[in-house]
């Protein structure tokens, strides 16, 4: 894919008036089910009855200029730029095309003198008080106001009065700045905040020409989605800290890619100048993100630009310090250690954890290295915080569109979508508010779905399967209206039940989730599932083979068809992360490869992760930044990061989309597939893993019929919708384990370790503008549990479990269910994982004032 220039050089004034400016916004795709004929500028068109005139025209090549209309938001008809003459039988009248649904025999004139005069007039009005900031404005060069003024505006202004003045700029939040002089009051940002994000924190204040967009006093626009307002602002009124003054739009070159900060997989453009990524913008993928991004994703490039990036491989020297070495040395040492381990204690003494942050190609290269070259099945893309690979691939899948299809019922057992899968939260919000989707949520605390659920059922950790049995199997007691309502909603849904499962709580074992799934599968055989796991490419990595017992293409090792590429597979089935770390802690692992994984920070049992790393003679970390685990490694291989590698990624639906290289990796850092490839030849000179990402993809896609479309059209993931083709539906789910809960004990609270969007993660810590957004750790208790303990705001409490204790400030919070204490993962001040032991079903703790 070649770099597309951001701006066209065509002289604007000569451009035909119907040229759509390059805003990346276009009418959402529709199917014509109720065709009507309308006449636009003398041309007879067949369009969908009832769709907005502005879209109907654009779809047919007539672009009507506009400012306030955005195809993914409700029209408001405010800017008046889109006025055209519409005749519905009573004579032509000026009408805002963004508010008028087309109807049969409508006749429309978009170029009449009256229309041209309105366009001239509206632009003159907008420019009257607009400052002459273009030369220093971030939007200059990609500004709809500039572009439309060239195309439709008056040549000069008759405005000789003094322009409106405001202090420039004011900050609406930590991230977004507002220049009120530039604002044209189109209501896009405010509408987005209110309608789409559900964070109505910015508003119009004052009246008439003093109207401005602002926040309430002392209530910043702290929304996880604030960056979208910057993208959709049709002028340079809103700017985002990470991009302000970094580059002029015409200096940026652009490639489409996919955000890999979570498994939603939003489509983005990666925009760079002078080999530095400076901006991502949301791309409108109709099946995924509708052009929206969360701020964590949108500003994620900061981490990769950070000076902390690893530029070269490191090896622990004689003093025990990690010191830079040449690649040949680092790779040689790593290959040596692996070879020795194989020779001395067999291939199973080598293990690979991670890969869910790699591309499919990277994951495949490592899977092949591990399973065919080394011969170990001790591979796991997950860190004890996910679900068994067979469940991830084998549960019949749901796309986001299917999950959100109008009128359906969703049973949400997953993590907090707002914190872990932000743009999915936006899609659900739209589905509930606009499309009549009803959500029943079962969980231990109120999530981002707070105002959206039709019914929430409280269940302490471990209790969800029991609640589900009550809902489906026994008629809920009539007194409990919540349960009865939920049961009725679920009954109504019948077989069309859409279930989202995940790991909402790191302190609750996956067995509980598996049991819930099994209850559901027997009660509602037709139920369809989405597995909502956080890491971007966890599904892709599993499909590539980075899971114990699996070969690429979602088949079990025992069923793997022998091919040229996979002539051998490990004889013994290996372990997942928990088993690997236990073996390591017991001294049975000689080489542990951490492929972009950081068990010390992420594995639910922190103490086990530490012991395992300490006990393993050679830990090899393949990472772009020195995370907590890499800092303990013997060899650190600097890997290229997002934006620096080509390949594909697979989102939580099983949708394969392209990720693209836009810049060069820093220093000598290199893609993880090439690291695997280099290691392979050093371990066995007869092996060639693959010369390029594309070659690896081609090989991987040839291994399973599920990838037929990819194999046939390898370029297809580059489109905004990617290719939906996931493997592994035939996999058997693991047998449901017997889940035993500790006896109820009225003195204990049950621990929930949940995730927040902004935490102490390595990438966030390396991002200038996001690093400060993480809160400190707090224990959240239901007010009824907090009161008897004497917890006031910020009282420090000590939480003690059978495995350890932590002391941290506590707060009463009525979003937490009674009998539960919530501590968020990876926030400064306390690590609740020290209370957890791997393998325990749930974790009960005592709380006392410290």
């Amino acid at each position: 894919m070649s770099d597309a220039p951001k701006t066209t050089d065509a002289p604007k004034t000569d451009a035909p008036k119907t040229d759509a400016p390059n805003t990346g916004e276009s009418p959402k795709p529709i199917e014509i089910t109720d065709p009507v004929e309308i006449n636009v500028d003398g041309e007879q068109l067949t369009v969908q009855n009832g769709e907005l005139l502005i879209d109907a025209c654009e779809r047919n090549g007539t672009y009507i200029p506009r400012f306030c209309y955005h195809p993914r938001m409700n029209p408001v008809g405010m800017c008046r730029m889109c006025l055209v003459e519409v005749d519905s039988g009573r004579g032509p009248a000026l009408q805002p095309s963004c508010m008028i649904p087309v109807s049969a025999d409508m006749s429309v004139d978009t170029t009449s003198d009256a229309v041209a005069k309105v366009q001239d007039g509206v632009l003159e009005f907008l420019l009257a008080n607009h400052p002459l900031d273009c030369p220093v404005c971030d939007k200059g060069g990609e500004c709809p106001l500039q572009d439309q003024t060239y195309a439709y505006g008056p040549g000069e202004s008759r405005f000789v009065e003094e322009k409106r003045h405001y202090a420039k700029p004011i900050s609406l939040s930590e991230t977004v700045y507002m220049d009120r002089e530039r604002c044209i009051l189109c209501d896009r940002c405010t509408r987005f905040a209110d309608e789409v994000a559900g964070d109505p924190l910015i508003h119009f204040i004052n009246r008439g020409s003093s109207t401005e967009v602002n926040t309430f006093p002392d209530q910043p626009f702290s929304s996880y989605f604030s960056g979208n307002t910057v993208q959709i602002c049709p002028v340079g009124a809103l700017t985002a800290k990470p991009f302000r003054f970094k580059a002029r739009p015409w200096d940026l070159t652009v490639k489409e890619s996919t955000c890999t900060r979570c498994s939603v997989g939003c489509r983005i453009t990666v925009e760079s100048s002078r080999d530095e990524v400076l901006r991502y913008q949301g791309v409108d993928s109709d099946s995924v993100n509708w052009s929206w991004l969360c701020d964590k994703g949108r500003f994620g490039f900061e981490a990769y630009n950070s000076p902390q990036r690893l530029r070269e491989p490191l090896v622990r020297d004689a003093e025990g310090e990690l010191a830079p070495v040449r690649w040949s040395e680092a790779l040689g040492l790593a290959a040596d250690q692996i070879r020795r381990a194989i020779e001395s204690r067999g291939p199973a003494s080598v293990a690979v954890i991670g890969g869910a942050r790699s591309t499919n190609e990277g994951a495949y290269a490592w899977a092949k290295l591990a399973k065919t070259v080394i011969g170990t099945d001790n591979c796991d893309a997950q860190l004890g915080d996910g679900l068994p690979a067979e469940a991830v691939l084998g549960l019949s899948g749901l796309t986001i569109d299917e999950l959100c299809a109008p009128g359906g019922t969703v049973l949400w057992l997953g993590p907090d979508p707002l914190e872990e899968l932000p743009v999915l939260q936006l899609r659900l919000r739209h589905a509930v508010i606009n499309d009549g989707v009803r959500i029943v949520e079962v969980g231990s605390r109120v999530t981002g779905l707070r105002d959206l659920v039709a019914q929430r059922i409280a269940a302490r950790p471990g209790e969800t399967p029991g609640v589900l049995r009550q809902l489906f199997e026994t008629a809920p007691a009539s007194g409990d209206t919540g349960l009865a309502t939920a049961a009725a909603l679920l009954r109504e849904a019948g077989d069309d039940l859409r279930v989202v499962v995940g790991r909402p709580n790191l302190a609750e074992s996956e067995d509980v989730v598996l049991e819930s799934i099994s209850v559901l599968r027997s009660s509602v055989p037709g139920a369809r599932f989405m597995t909502a796991l956080g890491r971007a490419n966890v599904r892709g990595a599993i499909e590539a083979g980075l899971a114990p017992g699996l070969a690429p293409g979602g088949v079990s090792l025992s069923n793997a068809a022998v091919s040229d590429a996979w002539s051998t597979v490990p004889a013994e089935t290996g372990s997942g992360s928990a088993g690997i770390l236990e073996a390591a802690a017991a001294g049975r692992i000689d080489v542990l490869v951490l492929l972009g994984a950081d068990p010390i920070s992420d594995f639910p049992d922190r103490s086990l992760a530490r012991r395992a790393l300490a006990a393993t003679p050679t830990v090899i970390s393949v990472a772009p930044l020195l995370d907590a685990s890499a800092a303990e490694a013997r060899i650190v291989l600097a890997s290229a990061a997002f934006g620096e590698v080509d390949g594909t990624t697979t989102n939580l639906e099983g949708r394969v989309t392209a990720v693209t290289q836009k810049v060069n990796p820093p220093g000598t850092a290199r893609p993880d597939w090439s690291i695997a490839s280099e290691l392979a030849v050093r371990i066995d000179p007869a092996v060639e893993l693959g010369r390029s990402a594309a070659a690896l993809a081609e090989e991987m896609w040839s291994l399973s019929d599920a990838y037929a479309e990819l194999a046939e059209r390898p370029e297809s993931p580059s489109g905004p919708e990617g290719v939906l083709c996931s493997a592994g539906h035939a996999l058997e789910l693991p047998a449901t384990p017997d889940v035993e809960l500790p006896a109820p004990d009225s003195y204990s609270l049950r621990l929930v370790i949940a995730r927040k969007l902004y935490d102490g993660g390595t990438l966030l810590a390396a991002s200038d503008s996001s690093a400060g957004l993480a809160d400190d750790a707090v224990a959240l208790l239901n007010p009824a549990d907090a009161a008897p303990l004497g917890v006031q705001n910020a009282t420090r409490v000590k939480l003690t479990s059978a495995n350890g204790n932590v002391t941290l400030p506590a707060r009463a919070d009525d979003s937490v269910q009674r009998g539960v204490v919530v501590v968020h993962h990876n926030l400064a001040g306390a690590d609740a994982r020290s209370l957890v032991a791997a393998g325990d079903t749930v974790c009960d703790v005592r709380a006392e004032v410290a």
Binding site: M78, A93, A114, D120, R207, S209
Partner: protein, 485 residues
Amino acid sequence: MNAIVNRLGDSTTGSGEDVPLIVSSRFTEPAGHTLEGYRNSGSYRGYEGLRSALERSPSEVGEIVKEATLLGRGGAGFPAGVKWGFCPPDVWPRYIVVNGDESEPGTYKDRVLMERDPHQLIEGCLLAAYAIGAAQVFLYVRGEMAHAQERIAAALNEAYEANLVGRNILGSDFSVDIVLTWGAGAYIVGEETALIESLEGNRGMPRLKPPFFPAAKGLYMQPTVVNNVETLSNLPWLFEHGVNAFRETGTESSPGTRLIALSGHVNNPGVFEVAQGTTTFRDLFESPRYGAGIRNGHELKMFIPGGASAPWFFSEHLDIPLEAREVGPAGSMLGSGAVVVMDETTDAVRACLRLVRFFARESCGKCTPCREGTTWEEQILTRILEGHGRPSDIDLLTDIGDNISPGPYPVAADPGSGLEAVPFPPRQTTICPLGPSSVAPITSALRRFRSEFTDKIKRRDPIPVSSEPVPVNHAGEFDSGAAHV
């Protein structure tokens, strides 16, 4: 007693013309605002109309209003009975919203109705609610009208206690609640869709029509009838005296009376109930019953026939009767019934600025042409008065006006067919008529008094322009009854 009461007294005594007082008969009654006073004084017996209406079916009640051709008194003059019929069948609940936000300069008749005869309004609400099947009425009173709010609240309490509002009214199975609510002081919430937004707790900005016609998608997106205070206040008399009696006054197309708020340079400003179609502007200004002549022997220069947004009239228009079908074709509108008289001492440019400034300050800011255009007009007029005018300003003012409301404003109706012939939607680039309203005084002044503009443009010495608003009397009672421009 204060001035206005005496003036109204004057208007009914010694009158050769027999104008029945349909809505203002209790204005002079000291206790007319109480339930007791409402039942025992005035031109009909309070709540008797309701009693008789409850014996009919709701659709009969609606028919009666239709037959009476009760035109809306809020500005647009749309027949109330027809409007009620626009509610889509079988969509429930429906609401009645009473527009008591009266804020147009010179308009102060609803205020008197609310302060002096709140029960009349309440009975009107009940009749309307009965006809359309609404179980809730929202009575929205302008924020600054504290006295009216108090009087309505007191009257509502009385009416609830007397089982005139609430459950099973007068023993029938008709139940309705009336909710009193008020604004925060914005002219724009007088526009019906902005009022609905405000009622819903949002910032008062108009919605777009289409698709948000209140009758179909109004309050909380339900069918909603918005009526002016005076419109509804006509109903009790109508139901007590009948359609024929109602139609005896006024003309065929505009039956009944209208409350006119007369202000400006007349000797006797005030609120007068006049017969539609038979009273002329000359009667209104000169009759001792009404304006009693231009002040101090001065001469009429111009007058605004129907609220600040109406194009100006001049002496040649004096014999036009106060009737929408006469005023419209002559190039203006009867609008909200506010008539403002200006004598020859009035500076047309300053008068123009005063009116334009009102609209600029009251623009809600939602749409570009009004938000930017009205302020620009104000800036140009101010500059002209400050001695920095440019010859190009006149064309500029005209063209800005054209960019806000292309073509004549309001569109003159075809004399034969009356107001219904006004094309819909109106020729405006804005969302609501507020923006175009600012254009009316400018075009009027430029057409007639162009030389006043050109003279000022030549001058270089400033004419002082005050930007201070006229102090508002919050006491709740009229002091002068006049609004001087």
